[in-house]
């Protein structure tokens, strides 16, 4: 397979958007997309964790392959990701306490964001090389941020409109996500 870096990026960003096409990272997508000013930083923080996790996973996979310890892959990935999240948390706390407070409990939750583990697992399954892995993780993170920001903008608008109160809350968010997902299907075939 000779997927170019550009193709991988576009695919991860739009055609196979992590949230809307692959169903990864839905918990923060539904949880943090209420307001635009937390959605964007959350997306950026997740992207950063993805990048770190992807780099670590790439190195780790080489190591595990060398020792033929593939069956430890999952457990070591998750430990690496948890550590990466901790690292991001500490960096944020030191350099941007304001953002740290704004993201609150969502930061540690990045650990259980399937999108992050998903990046690590998919890049391994598809046997991406170093450059491909990096583009894949950045594209995936950007796609996640894009979905989050789109969703947040729509939901901010919706708070002003008259919605039947039966449909308020998660059900409405899911319907919105469905419509967004429908429109993202139009991007399919773009990276070909």
């Amino acid at each position: 397979m000779h997927e170019s870096a550009f193709q991988i990026f576009i695919n991860a960003l739009l055609a196979n958007n992590f949230v809307l096409a692959m169903f990864l990272g839905l918990c923060p997508f539904l949880g943090v997309s209420g307001r635009l000013d937390t959605a964007f930083p959350m997306g950026v923080a997740t992207t950063f964790v993805m990048l770190v996790a992807s780099l670590c996973a790439y190195g780790l996979n080489l190591l595990l392959g060398y020792f033929h310890l593939e069956f430890l892959r999952l457990i070591s990935y998750i430990v690496i990701i948890a550590s990466a999240v901790q690292l991001v948390e500490m960096v944020l706390k030191k350099y941007s306490p304001k953002l740290f407070r704004a993201l609150g409990i969502y930061l540690p939750l990045i650990t259980t964001n399937c999108a992050v583990l998903g990046v690590a697992l998919f890049q391994t399954a598809r046997e991406y090389d170093f450059v491909q892995s990096v583009t894949f993780s950045v594209g995936g993170g950007a796609g996640f941020t894009l979905a989050l920001v789109l969703m947040a903008s729509v939901r901010e608008r919706l708070t002003l409109s008259n919605v039947p109160d039966l449909a308020q809350g998660t059900a409405l968010s899911l319907m919105l996500a469905g419509i967004l997902s429908l429109s993202f299907m139009g991007f399919a075939g773009l990276g070909g």
Partner: protein, 248 residues
């Protein structure tokens, strides 16, 4: 560290929050030793469980994988009764593939399929190309006698149900692979004619694939998958075909 008292049976039926209140308060910071002890213990237990599961399922998983591969190969080469795995090396030679380890860098995996009499029935190889939604991975059968592709099967794809997945059901499309021409050039360096999917109804030569109307992108991916794989594999394989003629 003091051991918290065992919650009584009656505590168990209280809702969790009440139980949390009943547990003695944990000291503000535990000493390092118990942390390391617990982490060490957990890692040891988990390590044992994982290794146990890996060893316990290894044979079954390997057998399953072999059966799946055989089934895929038998589908594209119906006469086949048994298969042997080979690797086509970048230098041009071929060698039997042993073990389940990774193939050598640049090597291309393929399968030699033999009929009941132990004679070479065909060669099967995998190929992949970007389709509409994701990579379409296919297996194709190659008949050395006519130097053509004689069948395809899909290994993995995520194409749109009802549109892209016609590549496994559409009879007219599958008819392309009764004898798809993949002859090599005189010097055996590459295919004489690039395999390509052309628009529905525009097929003129035996090396072209008549695409499915409405699923052109997926059809094209199949064409590219065959072409890319064949361009690499066949120049290495064809000079060595005699080594494969009968089952070793």
């Amino acid at each position: 560290m003091t051991e918290p008292s065992e919650p009584s049976v009656s505590a168990a039926k209280v809702i969790p929050i009440a139980v949390a209140g009943a547990t003695p308060p944990v000291p503000p910071a535990s000493p390092t030793a118990p942390m390391i002890r617990t982490l060490g213990l957990v890692s040891a237990i988990c390590g044992l469980i994982i290794v146990g599961a890996y060893q316990g399922t290894y044979d079954a998983v390997a057998a399953n994988k072999r059966i799946a591969t055989e089934r895929a190969v038998f589908k594209v080469i119906p006469a086949a009764q048994s298969i042997a795995e080979y690797v086509a090396l970048p230098g041009g030679g071929i060698e039997p593939r042993v073990g389940a380890g990774d193939t050598a860098p640049g090597g291309v995996k393929f399968f030699a399929a033999y009929d009941a009499g132990g004679k070479l029935a065909g060669i099967a190889a995998e190929g992949g190309a970007k389709g509409y939604a994701d990579t379409v991975r296919i297996m194709f059968g190659y008949a050395p006698d006519c130097q053509c592709v004689v069948g395809i099967g899909v290994v993995a794809m995520r194409e749109t149900p009802g549109i892209g997945d016609k590549i496994i059901t559409d009879k007219n499309f599958l008819a392309n692979f009764n004898a798809l021409d993949v002859k090599l050039k005189g010097d055996l360096s590459a295919l004489a004619n690039e395999v390509r999917a052309v628009k529905h109804g525009a097929k003129t030569s035996p090396w072209q694939i008549d695409a499915i109307a409405g699923a052109t992108i997926t059809s094209r991916a199949v064409g590219r998958a065959i072409n890319d794989s064949a361009q690499v594999l066949l120049p290495r394989l064809v000079p060595n075909l005699d080594k494969l003629r009968s089952k070793s």
